[in-house]
């Protein structure tokens, strides 16, 4: 009796929600980036690699310049390059996006692991990390405490969600972006290059994934890089994109759900084996995908 009450209060404590926001952020950022490429009609599974590179180069920049913001800048630069490289192969040279995505992921693991061994022979921790927001008045309002003391990128993500939503659904450019994926020839005959929109989407995705990676290493882990630290978040982000039908707001909510279960998993480690709790986010991902398939089937039935 007593034990179950403990589990319950542990799960629904302020700490869980704080952790939820923190863990949801990298997935959310990548998912918003993935929404861009998804709208442009590119199946982008290369987000995993883009996040990992963002995470590493964030730490590297932070270490070299002894400034977290320099790290952030280097991560962004690498993100732009990764996006350009992806677009070059997928859009310009029409390679198979699935293969290129896989290649990017594999390349990212190799590159970051190799460079990490070179630059950080011991361990890559303790580098300057991104600051946290600290507004004293938030602590005094019950319930709002959880949104205080978060890394700056958590807050930036909220702004990005709104901007991305405005961009996709409320600006002419968003219409072009969606048309470039849904009916590229239509856009072309209207006199706008669908390829250009795909290039832009790839670069935006690169930038957002780099931010996701930078949050992971410079924010969440406070200046630490570990091998393969993206740990499938790119794939979970991809699941969020599909789940949210590439709607940035819904993708954020899907990422929050993921964050919530990751937080629970971490919290439950005191009660259950961590091998089991670590499974929770991935199980949720599977459930999400099953839901997507069921939804699609239902719609198909309705149309028939």
């Amino acid at each position: 009796m007593n034990g179950s009450k403990d589990i319950f209060s542990t799960i629904f404590s302020a700490g869980t929600f704080q952790m939820m926001l923190r863990s949801a952020t990298p997935v959310a950022l990548a998912a918003i980036g993935g929404s861009m490429t998804e709208h442009a009609g590119i199946m982008n599974i290369g987000m995993e690699g883009m996040i990992l590179m963002g995470a590493f180069f964030g730490v590297l920049g932070s270490f070299l310049a002894q400034s977290a913001f320099a790290g952030l800048a280097l991560a962004l630069l690498v993100g732009i390059l990764a996006g350009l490289f992806f677009a070059l192969l997928v859009v310009r040279y029409k390679s198979d996006e699935f293969i290129i995505g896989c290649a990017l992921n594999t390349f990212a693991i190799g590159l970051t692991t190799y460079l990490a061994r070179n630059y950080f022979p011991g361990d890559a921790s303790g580098n300057p990390n991104l600051p946290e927001l600290n507004l004293a008045f938030l602590d005094r309002i019950p319930g709002l405490r959880v949104i205080n003391h978060q890394s700056v990128l958590v807050y930036l993500t909220w702004i990005i969600v709104i901007l991305a939503w405005l961009f996709v659904y409320k600006t002419p450019y968003g219409f072009w972006l969606r048309a470039s994926g849904e009916k590229p020839d239509t856009l072309r005959t209207a006199g706008i290059s669908p390829k250009k929109m795909k290039w832009i989407a790839s670069v935006l995705c690169g930038i957002l994934c780099a931010l996701a990676g930078a949050h992971l290493s410079l924010g969440q882990l406070q200046g630490t890089f570990t091998d393969n630290m993206s740990n499938s978040r790119g794939f979970i982000a991809f699941a969020c994109v599909i789940f949210a039908a590439a709607h940035p707001g819904k993708a954020y909510l899907a990422a929050l759900m993921f964050g919530f279960f990751e937080a629970i998993g971490l919290r439950l480690q005191g009660f259950v084996s961590s091998d089991l709790t670590g499974m929770i986010p991935y199980l949720i991902t599977i459930v999400m995908m099953v839901y997507v398939v069921v939804r699609k089937q239902r719609r198909k039935m309705k149309n028939e």
Partner: protein, 514 residues
């Protein structure tokens, strides 16, 4: 501007594609305020010429003038600015966008410089609707409106961009007769009242006569004639299109029906949803005769044919080919028994678009010893020379036997399917929709081939949505309604109108329907 002034001038335009000269030295003037029809067989180069005018393709040689200005850069954006609009055969609309969002695409009204102004877009569309007397549901997603309305949206889209010269690429291909009539009313209206120039690409000659002022005929990439529509008739246009007189006269029949070759007894078949599609149908087909099936789409004719050829399971009943029971056999075994099949959908089941013409012609014969060395190694030279011979014999026109089948025009794809199936020389032929979406010249060719097979003694079961075709080819005609035979007639025994009564089930042989 006065009448007869040239708004578009093609000067010695040529377009070379790999292996095909799509446009060959075209000189043509389009006059302001006219409806100009551009006709030609599939693959004659009409669409290429119009794609050049719309800036989608740059000609390999020649000059294009629009409203007295030479086009230097071939880019839709620039050409659109000069007043050219195009309604493509396959609509260029984004399904999830609303009508208004589609119409203003690329020229969206904005607020605060960066935001899409949906209200202004819808207002602009309403203004267009008033100006041109065309109504559309401006805030409905395009995927929810009918094909006829989608076309109207396409026309408004062109007008919204200030089009004065409107190109319509096969606009009636997807329309019902009523929608076609409405479209023509719209065209007449915009030409008369708004001084627009309309270029309409088609191969339906009745429509040329109904709507156009002048007509240009293309054949094998060349412009072979430009005429005032009132000076020509459909027969003359058909001959110009094909390059020789198109007779469409009685096809010669010889021989008398022989022994039964295909027998179907009390056949019952279900459709995809498991509902009865063919209900206890029996028929007998003799060697040397063509039995035509006349039925409205969805009355069991497709299932009947797929069941006979072994593509879908049979519930009950019996199918015999040359006296051999093939009920429930695999398609391959049924073919072995002496049957070949031209399926109704050439792209889905008739051929593989991603394979070459030669490969498509070979299918079914690939195991024959003459194409194989040591039984395992394909003899490419033998395949190639065989394919080339068939290609020649069936008058297939395209970029040769090594080109991808999917890149050919519809008429030529159909010829590939027919060539392959006919070359099995089977006693029984099942032919479904032999000329759907095929041009006049190819239709005539295919018909004469079918008749030739009949005269050589093949038993042919023909199903076609084109009643004229059924009448022209068949020795006997049966009507199907809801999976049952409602009437059986000898050729010449019944007229089209009367046949329609049997096709709709309002009359049945052996007493009227309930």
């Amino acid at each position: 501007m006065k009448q007869n002034e040239a708004v578009v001038r093609f000067e010695h335009i040529s377009m070379q594609f790999p292996g095909v000269l799509a446009n060959d030295d075209i000189c043509l003037e389009i006059r302001k305020g006219e409806v100009f029809a551009l006709i030609g067989e599939n693959g004659a180069g009409k669409s290429t010429l119009m794609n050049i005018l719309y800036g989608l393709q740059k000609p390999s040689a020649g000059a294009l003038w629009i409203k007295g200005k030479r086009v230097e850069e071939f880019d839709p954006r620039i050409v659109i600015d000069q007043g050219v609009g195009m309604v493509h055969q396959h609509f260029m609309l984004v399904p999830s966008f609303t009508v208004a969002q589609n119409i203003v695409l690329s020229r969206e009204p904005r607020k605060h410089k960066i935001f899409f102004d949906n209200a202004a877009a819808e207002e602009a569309v309403r203004k267009l609707e008033r100006d041109y007397g065309l109504t559309v549901p401006e805030s409905t997603p395009v995927e929810e409106i009918s094909v006829g309305l989608q076309q109207r949206v396409e026309i408004l889209k062109a007008l919204c961009k200030g089009a004065e010269i409107l190109i319509l690429d096969e606009p009636t291909a997807v329309l019902t007769p009523q929608e076609t009539e409405e479209l023509f009313t719209v065209i007449r209206g915009i030409v008369r009242e708004k001084d627009m120039t309309v270029i309409i690409i088609t191969h339906k000659l009745d429509e040329v006569m109904a709507i156009s002022d002048r007509v240009g005929v293309m054949r094998k990439g060349r412009l072979v004639g430009v005429h005032e529509t009132r000076d020509v008739d459909t027969r003359m246009l058909a001959s110009l299109m094909v390059g020789r007189p198109v007779l469409f006269e009685e096809l010669e029949r010889s021989g008398t029906p022989g022994a039964p070759a295909l027998r179907v007894e009390k056949l019952c078949v279900s459709d995809q949803r498991g509902l009865p599609a063919v209900r206890g149908l029996s028929l007998e087909l003799r060697a040397g005769e063509i039995l035509g099936i006349a039925a409205i789409e969805g009355n069991g004719q497709s299932e009947l044919i797929e069941a006979i050829t072994g593509l879908i399971p049979i519930r009950s009943g019996r199918v015999e080919v040359l006296g051999k029971d093939v009920t429930g056999r695999e398609p391959g075994e049924i073919r072995e028994a002496g049957l070949a099949h031209v399926p109704e959908d050439r792209l889905a089941t008739g051929l593989s678009g991603a394979a070459t013409v030669a490969e498509n012609l070979l299918v079914g014969k690939q195991r024959e010893p003459r194409f194989n060395r040591f039984r395992i190694h394909q003899d490419r030279r033998a395949v190639r020379s065989y394919a080339e011979e068939v290609y020649e014999r069936y008058d297939i026109r395209g970029a040769g036997v090594d080109a991808l089948a999917g890149e050919m025009s519809g008429g030529n794809m159909q010829k590939v399917v027919i060539a392959r199936e006919f070359s099995f020389d089977t006693p029984v032929l099942i032919i479904s929709q032999p000329t759907r979406g095929v041009d006049v010249g190819a239709i005539e060719f295919i018909h004469s081939r079918v008749m030739e097979k009949r005269n050589q003694g093949a038993a042919i079961l023909l199903s076609s949505a084109d009643l004229d075709e059924v009448f022209r080819l068949s020795d006997r005609i049966i009507t199907l309604f809801e999976g049952e035979i409602t009437g059986s007639f000898r050729a010449g025994e019944i007229g089209k109108e009367e046949l329609g009564l049997y096709m709709t089930g309002s009359r049945r042989q052996g007493g009227t329907a309930e």
